[in-house]
């Protein structure tokens, strides 16, 4: 499992080479690649590049986006947008974390739980978040709850699957030893299975955090007045293209930031993993 810290976005083809670079050189390369992307975007959009099947003629230029971003950042609504989205993602993710890990522990450990739970979950898993919108509106009386449900749907499956994977990978000798040393059938969960599966669970939580943001626009299509996703969707209906890009980038940055946060917290909680390849 490659869990290179915080390199999710700039995933290099040969991570081992990147690691050997001096830190400053590594940062320079990361900043350089980011700058290169922006430069390409600037050139393509200002020169209205047109390559037949793809055209940059109508793409807003970086400077237009910057102006739209400035407008948003100076508006008092920014805080309201951010708070609404962070709350939805936070609650949806938290519920997904608790349920995903709990179900994953059971399914990974017990054959009966696998038989009972896994089949319906496997059927539900491929359904995209957007397809859940009508049902969630029918099921949940408040639109806030249905939006939280959509972010939950986005986060729960990566968490669940990684937890199952982690539990299945636990050395059976460890649980056997714990049982021989006096641990009961349920006591092995907090003492052995949870810590042994922790690295995989952290990976799942980190991916789940990403997919949670992934579904934010979908969730905030439902209604509301505020939210980064809502802002992005509203800008689309108003044909305010520069603002769409601002919304997209904001979601990207927030999603990356919270995924990194999960990884850092995860590493703090699994100190014995430090220094392992």
């Amino acid at each position: 499992m490659t869990t290179a810290t915080g390199l999710a976005l700039s995933n290099p083809p040969k991570p081992s080479r990147i690691v050997r670079w001096p830190a400053a050189g590594g940062y320079a390369a990361q900043a350089g690649s980011l700058l290169g992307c922006v430069l390409f975007w600037h050139l393509a959009s200002t020169h209205h590049w047109h390559a037949g099947f793809i055209t940059f003629a109508n793409v807003p230029a970086p400077l237009e986006v910057l102006a739209a971003a400035r407008e948003l950042f100076e508006s008092p609504k920014l805080w309201l947008h951010l708070r609404a989205s962070l709350l939805r993602v936070g609650i949806g993710f938290a519920i997904a974390g608790v349920l995903g890990v709990a179900a994953g522990l059971l399914i990974g450990r017990f054959e009966w739980a696998r038989r009972v739970l896994l089949t319906p979950l496997e059927v539900l898993r491929p359904i995209p978040a957007v397809a859940w919108i009508p049902l969630s509106i029918l099921v949940f009386p408040s639109s806030e709850a249905s939006m939280i449900f959509i972010t939950f749907v986005g986060a729960v499956f990566p968490i669940l699957l990684n937890t199952i994977h982690g539990v299945e990978g636990v050395d059976p000798r460890l649980t056997a030893s714990a049982r021989s040393l006096g641990a009961g059938r349920w006591r092995v969960f907090p003492e052995v299975i949870l810590p042994a599966a922790a690295p995989a669970i952290v990976t799942g939580l980190s991916i789940g955090m990403g997919t949670c943001w992934f579904c934010l626009v979908t969730a905030e299509m439902i209604s509301g007045q505020f939210g980064i996703g809502y802002y992005t969707w509203e800008s689309y209906t108003l044909q305010n293209y520069a603002s769409i890009v601002v919304g997209m980038l904001l979601i990207g940055v927030l999603g990356m930031g919270s995924s990194v946060l999960i990884r850092v917290i995860g590493q703090r909680l699994t100190p014995w993993q430090r220094g392992r390849a």
Partner: protein
């Protein structure tokens, strides 16, 4: 003072154990009956895959016999229990716990308070010669040291039976010798019945009061050999008596080699390919 002062008698009656499922099922142990007196040090000697470890797994309570009984002081073995300590060939220390936390695990499961746990763990860490390593993580220790911690972790429960599955098999020769000395030293202080699985004849003769030799699969006991060499035996390894005992064991262990060598069995059952079926 503690249960360790009452080593248990082991009794196996017509014990057979089947491993694997469906067409892959096979009899790993067949009709084994034996009696081990309390406090005896018994080595189980036999070729790889003969079912020695399977026998240990049944006594530890991780494998259910197909027929027959495993009894401890007349009481039937049902499931794992701290009075039957199990030591694997490769350590099974919890990598997220420090040495002291690993050693104290059994006490924690009993509900002993943290201060007492800490004190007793220190005692047992000293006992296995790892003073000063209490706060290390297992990953920071050498193979020999890890196995010392594993032994301390089992002994802190004062097991009435110590089941050891080739515990020194993965160590280099010198470390192994030191560990054998340590084990005998510990046994002077903590009386317990020991059933020790090995395929090393020298090791069996150095350690055991009695050596049981098993046949290739399906495992049966084909020789019950009392070892009457005076202790300590490390100097006597060159003696004529030692050599003749060794010759005797070698002759019994020299069969026609099977065309394909059998996979190693573990106290948890068949090799990894089958292992999913053995939930604990």
């Amino acid at each position: 003072m503690s249960a360790s002062d009452h080593p248990a008698a082991i009794r196996l009656r017509q014990l057979s154990i089947r491993l694997g499922l469906g067409s892959a099922a096979f009899e790993a142990v067949q009709n084994v009956s034996l009696d081990i007196e309390p406090g005896q040090f018994v080595c189980l000697l036999g070729p790889s895959g003969c079912g020695k470890s399977t026998l240990l797994g049944a006594l530890a309570g991780h494998l259910t016999p197909a027929s027959g009984q495993a009894l401890l002081d007349g009481e039937r073995v049902a499931g794992p229990h701290p009075e039957r300590g199990l030591v694997f060939q490769h350590h099974t220390l919890f990598p997220w716990k420090t040495v002291a936390q690993n050693v104290a695990f059994g006490l924690k499961m009993k509900g002993v308070d943290a201060a007492t746990r800490q004190r007793q763990a220190e005692e047992f860490i000293d006992l296995v010669g790892l003073t000063g390593f209490a706060r290390h993580y297992p990953g920071q220790l050498s193979g020999g040291m890890q196995q010392r911690v594993e032994i301390a972790r089992v002994l802190i429960n004062h097991p009435r039976v110590l089941l050891m599955d080739e515990p020194f098999g993965a160590l280099d020769a010198l470390t192994r010798l030191k560990m054998q000395e340590l084990l005998l030293e510990i046994r002077e202080r903590i009386r317990t019945t020991v059933l020790f699985v090995t395929h090393d004849i020298d090791e069996a003769l150095l350690l055991a009061d009695r050596v049981l030799i098993m046949s290739p699969r399906p495992g049966r006991i084909i020789e019950d050999l009392p070892v009457d060499l005076p202790r300590p035996r490390f100097a006597a390894a060159g003696s004529a008596r030692f050599a003749s005992l060794k010759q005797h064991c070698l002759a019994l262990l020299r069969y026609d080699e099977p065309a394909t060598s059998l996979p190693r069995l573990t106290p948890l059952g068949a090799p990894p390919a089958h292992q999913l079926q053995f939930a604990i």
